[in-house]
Every structure is written in structure tokens, then in C-alpha cells.
Symmetry: D3
Subunit: 168 residues, 6 copies
């Protein structure tokens, strides 16, 4: 993982947040489910990662790789034939990395009832063709919602750095 001290001078110009927003819709097929017709957690994680990667890539216009994912809970099951909505947004940027927030909702298409299933925070790093980290544009929160999410992301980042220190 690259060191990510703030070095504004080497930065590319800031970019609009809306650019990075991604909406994905998936239909739960038999190959996504176990013997009871319930989705595998890993299938959801895989969609979260793709949505997050597209969001990060659309924001920085570079190839990205997943660096980390925060702890997440699956608070409701998702069943065969349901429709899954995945929404990904940039929350925060460091020198070469971006925190993307992803929210997953599942909908029973017969009733239209929606269940919040999971929320995830992923960090992606922008890389060049040799796989070396490269600077990303700075995310400048504008709306009240963006400012709130940005602030929360800053706190999460502090917790992450704190935890990593403890582990080493």
C-alpha cells in the first residue's frame, strides 16, 4: 500500500462528485444461491466491489485496485428471483486512494417491498500501467449530504490507520 501523505502540489485538478456515482441493478439467478435459494454473501460482496471500482474509476479516470473493505454486516437475506440495487459514491479522497460508500437494497419484485441489506466502505487505489499508485483528483464535497459523508469518511480513515498501527 502506498503512503498517502497530503501533497496538494502533485495533485491533478478537483472533480465533480456526481461523476463518480454508480447505480447497478442485478437479478438473483439460481447460480447466485445456495440449496435454500438464499444468495451467497460473496456474490453480494462481488457486486459491491464492481460497483465501487466503477465509481472510483469514473471519479479518477484511471485503473483502480481494491485496497481494503471495512467490516460489514448482512442485515437481511436476499432470495432467488429478487432484484438487488447497488449504489456507489465517492466519500473521500487521499493522495492516491478513494473511499467509496456502497449501499445494497434488495427488492421482492412480486410485492415491491425493499430491504436494506448491507452498507460497505471500500478503499481503492489508482494505479498506472506498471501497477504503481498515482495521484487522484481531490473530492470536494458540495451538498450537505456530501459534506456529512465526507466527514464520516475522515473519521473512518482515522480508525483504519489506528487499527493498522495496533496490528503492526
Amino acid at each position: 500500500m502506498p503512503s498517502e501523505q497530503n501533497d496538494p502540489a502533485s495533485r491533478v485538478p478537483p472533480m465533480d462528485s456526481a461523476e463518480g456515482e454508480v447505480i447497478m441493478t442485478e437479478l438473483v439467478l439460481p447460480s447466485h444461491t445456495n440449496a435454500l435459494g438464499t444468495i451467497f454473501g460473496g456474490v453480494v460482496m462481488s457486486w459491491i466491489d464492481i460497483a465501487g471500482a466503477i465509481s472510483a474509476q469514473r471519479f479518477c479516470r484511471k485503473q483502480v485496485v481494491t485496497a481494503s473493505i471495512d467490516d460489514m454486516a448482512f442485515v437481511a437475506v436476499i432470495k432467488l428471483g429478487w432484484v438487488v440495487h447497488i449504489r456507489a459514491k465517492v466519500n473521500y479522497t487521499a493522495k492516491t486512494s478513494m473511499e467509496i460508500g456502497v449501499r445494497v437494497d434488495a427488492e421482492d419484485p412480486k410485492t415491491g417491498v425493499k430491504h436494506h441489506t448491507a452498507s460497505a466502505y471500500l478503499t481503492f487505489v489508482a494505479i498506472d500501467e506498471n501497477g504503481k499508485p498515482i495521484p487522484v483528483p481531490k473530492f470536494l464535497p458540495k451538498s450537505a449530504d456530501e459534506k456529512r459523508r465526507h466527514l464520516a469518511a475522515v473519521k473512518r480513515r482515522e480508525i483504519r490507520l489506528e487499527r493498522r498501527k495496533k496490528t503492526n
Copy 2:
């Protein structure tokens, strides 16, 4: 295919158009492309069908099957690593069927340049558990855009019925 004369009496109550709208985002992977790194037309058709089916299903809250697809042209190629946006909306409803309009745009994530790739019109039929066609709610266009799309769909339907007559 079921006969679809208008019989308002047997209809379930009308429903809001926004319910049926679907936004899908897909990333073009190596398994979607040929030896030159260009997407297969059939992969795009497959995404169009899934987006259309979810849209129809979300509108009528029943299981649906694809009944037909109008002629469509692929006006731009889509390449490995690009992001594909699929947008599906209800345009028109008959007794047991719905016309769904789908628009496909492809985006080169490195530059952000978007290319309109294809537009498609599909007809889905709502079916019960024995596979028999069943009535769908009536689509009532509200916005100016919805009214324009509804009118165009009525014309396409006339052309379809005309064509089918000629073929028989």
C-alpha cells in the same frame, strides 16, 4: 401470444410509471468480448433483456416472459474495460403485455466519453404460475416525455400488428 383487446373491466388498477424504471451498470470483462476485445452483440442483447424484464416485472409485480424485440442497430462498438449503462422504462401497456424501451450507452472510463450504442423496444407478457398470460396495470403517461414515448409506442404497436398480418 395472447389476444390483447382492451377490456378495462378486467384490469387491475393503474400504477405510477416511475416504479418501472431500471438503471443497470455493467463492466465489460474478457468473457464478454471476442479476439479483438470488442463486445459480442449477444451480450448487450442479454443485458437489454434483463433490464427490460426487471422493468416490466417491477411495473406489473408479476413474472414476465419476453414476447418480442423490435429491430435494433448497434451504432458504436463497445470495448473491453468499458462501462455500459442500460436504462429501461415502460412506454405502453396492453391487456397482458408491456412495451419497454431500453437505451444503451457505453463509456470509456479512462476518458469519460460516452457513446450511444443501441436503443431497443421489447414486449413482455405477464404470466401466472401455469404460464398463462394475466392482466397488467394500465400505464398512464404523466410527464410530457412519458406522453411522447407513449404515443410513439402506440405507433410501433400498430406497425408490429400490421407486419404480423402480412407474415401470416
Copy 3:
């Protein structure tokens, strides 16, 4: 899309029609079907596109891309465990493009009963390594059946060009 006026001088030599014929057989697996065990229309379209592309490629011996597909109807459902037969043949060639006819039949393997499911007409364009359209051999219909299909393809092409004019 390339302009496709007839310019026989720049053509590569004509080729036998039988070369381009393709027969595909597919087994309907759980991942191809919805919650009622009925195949997705998009899966069938995807097989049609692959069969058509192989047929076009085998005829012109070049890489091809899907340019368009005519309107098509699914006249019978296909179920989990059934066997699907796809047959693709060259009907007509223009300067850089080929019309391929595809017929889909589905068979219940328990009874052997076959159902005609769909017929489709696709146009493929031959491309070089830079994605530029390149000439294809001329299709010369020989048998009575080929001549009949060739004539019908010429008419379909006129209708397509007519429609495109109207849209622009």
C-alpha cells in the same frame, strides 16, 4: 456503419454457401432460467448472435461485429432441461456486410416434441485489425432454397434502408 454500394472490382472471390452454415445445440441449465424455470429471452438472443457470428466469420474468414438484428418474436417458451437447436446460414452479402438467417427450435428431451421458437435475421460487418470494415466474398445462391432465401434477404435489406431513412 460503412456505406455498402456495390463495387465488384474491389471484391474478393465468391465462396460456397455451405461453408457458412452453423448448427449449435445447447442444454438449458438453471443459470439460463428465471424463477419459473423458463429461459430468458436474452439467453436465446445471445446464442443467436454467437451462431450468426460464427456463420458470418466462417463465410468471410475475417473477424466480424454485429451491426443489427431485425425484429423477432418468441413464439413458444423454452424450459429448464430442454435442448435448443440453433441453425445459422448466410442469406445475402453486401460489400462489407452479410445477412445471416438464424432459426431456433426447442426440444423437450423426454418426449422429443420440437417447438419452433424464433427466427432472426442479423447483419454482421467484417472488420480488419483496426476495426475498419473490409470487403467480404460475394454470396452466390445455388440451390432453389438458397435463391429463395437470397431474394427474401434483398427485400428485407430494402425495408431496413427505407426505415433508416425515415428515422433520420
Copy 4:
């Protein structure tokens, strides 16, 4: 494996060989190949098994399971973008089982050059809904080619039974 002594009395009536013939065509995609762009042997085996299973199923009109496969060699490599032809035919039937012969050829679509890649002999057993072996129709070779293949299959069956004795 079920005992397969001949008990003609319990047999269902004989059936035409042509019924069981299957022709499959597959396009080699990136997900079928290793880092050098060469197909995995297991992908070919998987297609051989599907073609054989469809052939056996079409012959006996029952669900079937793979019981065994004879030794086979891959005599030529198959590359990314090539077209693979798989042809499966019934050679012989015992009480509840069928020997299916499968031949695989690969074609470079750019040149049209075909390479014989592999030949395989598989035994399938017909089963009922509880997974118990059930009688299959008797295969009656008619053409000279069918008679030759039938005779060869009888010899292979003797060798198989001989080998199994040695192993026990």
C-alpha cells in the same frame, strides 16, 4: 453401476439411430483458455460430456448420468477465437446404458483449416426420478457405418469389463 445382463423381455421398443445424433458448435472465449491462449482440456471434456448426454437422452428419452469415459488423447491444441465442432452418436446399448461416440474438431476461422482434436467414448446410464437405472431402447445399427461402429463398441465394452475385473 447397475448390472446390465441382457433381458430383452423388459425392454422398451427399439429406436432409430439418427434420433440420437447431436452436433454442437462452440466458440473459444477468453474464459476457456489459459495464459497462453490455449484451451483447457477440461473445457473440451465438459463439452464432450454435454454433447454425449444430450445424445443419450435424445435416444432413450430419459434423464441420464455419465457412468464412464474411455481413455482419450488431445492430439492438437485449440486456440482462443477458434470454433470447436462436437459430434455425438449412439454406438451401442446395453440394458440400461448406452455407449456414445464423440468426435471433436477445431477450426481456425481465419483460414478454415480444421484439426481433429480428440475422440471419446462415454457410457451413460438412464435413470428414473429416484436415480435408479431403467431400461433403454435397443440400438439397431442399420447403415454400414453404424454396423462398423456398433461392432467396435462391443469390443470396447469387453475390454472395459475385462479391465474392471482386473482392478477388483
Copy 5:
């Protein structure tokens, strides 16, 4: 999520830890990687989830669903053609849930050099046929290594419960 207070009386008898251990090996194919030939984080998460689910299921002999995953970092990239080793083990059990530890290593098959890629801790809940949580056997650590991992899992569980309290 079920409440998981200790109620030894309702427990099924304890079971050997080795039962729950799982070793998976995966080959990185083109369909697992992005345009730079680097694996998607979500593919790795998906393998981690499957390995963890098999481990949990093998331990409790019941159907399981993923309840949560702790934060994890990808400390090294994995490339096309590499071999991925996934190792999953039970660390701890509560009344109806199990913590599974998963370790992922990637190996360049040309050199044999192995890279530790990620470590993950997942919680799975055992469910009955109606999706209701049911008791699992108690995990009794025996070896020094198992005792060490068990202790660490107890601490992680406290942190998780603490965090959840804060969020609510």
C-alpha cells in the same frame, strides 16, 4: 440477527475442530481480472465467502448464511494465471453462529513465490429450513494454535458487539 447468549443446555454436542478445516485452490482466469490482468477484489471476497461457508457448514452440519465480515486489506495484487490458496478454519462458536478465519495466499506458478494477500474473519449463522437460526455444536480449542485463535476471536467478538452498540 439472532441473540446469542450462552445457553449450554440447548446445545448439540461439541465437535472436533479439524472437521471444519477447508483448503481451496483456484486458478486466476481472464474472467476474474480487469484490463490490467489484476484480479478483482470481489472475486477474492467471493472465494473467501465460499471457503468460509463450507468450513462453517462442515462444522455444524447445517445450512449457513453469511452474517458479517470484518474489515480486511488486500496487501498484494494477484495476477492472471496465478494460483490462489484459500484456507478456512473455525475459530469460535456462539449459540447459533461461528467465526471462521480465512487466509488467502497467491502463488506465481512460474516461480513458486507465494504472497500473503489477505486475511478475513467471517461470521456465519446456522439456519433451519425456514431460515430461522438454530444452535451449533460448541467449538472446543485443543491445540495451542487453536487456543490462541479462539482467544483472539473472543476479543474480536467483543469489539464487534461494542461497535454495533455505538452504531445503534
Copy 6:
């Protein structure tokens, strides 16, 4: 296929057998099974080939292709939701090829009962970047078990060469 006379002089140095051992675990998903929920033989063959290829590749540290597979029988069915264990080991090496032994066991995760399903012997050839066969390290059996398997492999190789002579 390359000629494989022993020419110790051109050999690369011998290597430890344990290097080549591979353990794979797979979960049987709906997309692996037929309409009765029983796995396709071809799916098992595909896993056998991947496990064998990884084993051969890990032993010789080169790209490999499948050259042949000995006859094999499926002695027990494998069902949806079961766990499949595949174990692959080097048994013998010739100049440019390796015999890999693979054993497949299936486990019902609800009961823990394991069924030996199939055993297979595959030959892989090491190739360079142009697809030409290249020498592999010599496998030196050490343990009693390895010596027994090595001896059996030598006999199988003689039978294979004998058979091939007869066929030509």
C-alpha cells in the same frame, strides 16, 4: 505429442514431490447440475483437469497443456449442495510430460458422509511460449506411497504406449 525418450543430460534438476500436490474444494451449485439436481460428469472432469494442471505446473514451473486422460468411471453420483474434494499429485515424469493422479471425493455437508467418486490419471506436457514441448524436472519418489504410485504409473505408461501402437 513429443517423443519422450529418456535423455537425462538435457534435464533440469530434480524437484521435491510435495511441491506438486494440490487440494481443491468445490461447492456444487445449481449451474453444475441437471434437472434432477445431479452433477454433470463434465463439470467433474473440468475440475480434475484444473487440479491436474495446477499440480503439473507447480511441479515443473512451466505452462502445461493436457495431453491425455486415462479411462475413468464415476462410481457415485454427486448432488446439488454437496462439497467436492479434489486431490492431485505427480506420479511420474518423462522427458517433457508428467502423469498426475487425481482423486475425487464428494461429501454431503449435512451428514459428513464422504463418497469416493472417481480417480483419474492425466498426462500434461510442459510447453514454452511458442507451444513447443520442453523438459521437466525428474520426479524422484521418496516415501513408500510415492514409490508405489510411481511404479503403477510406469505400468500405466507402458499400457498407453502399447494401446497407441495398436491404434496406429
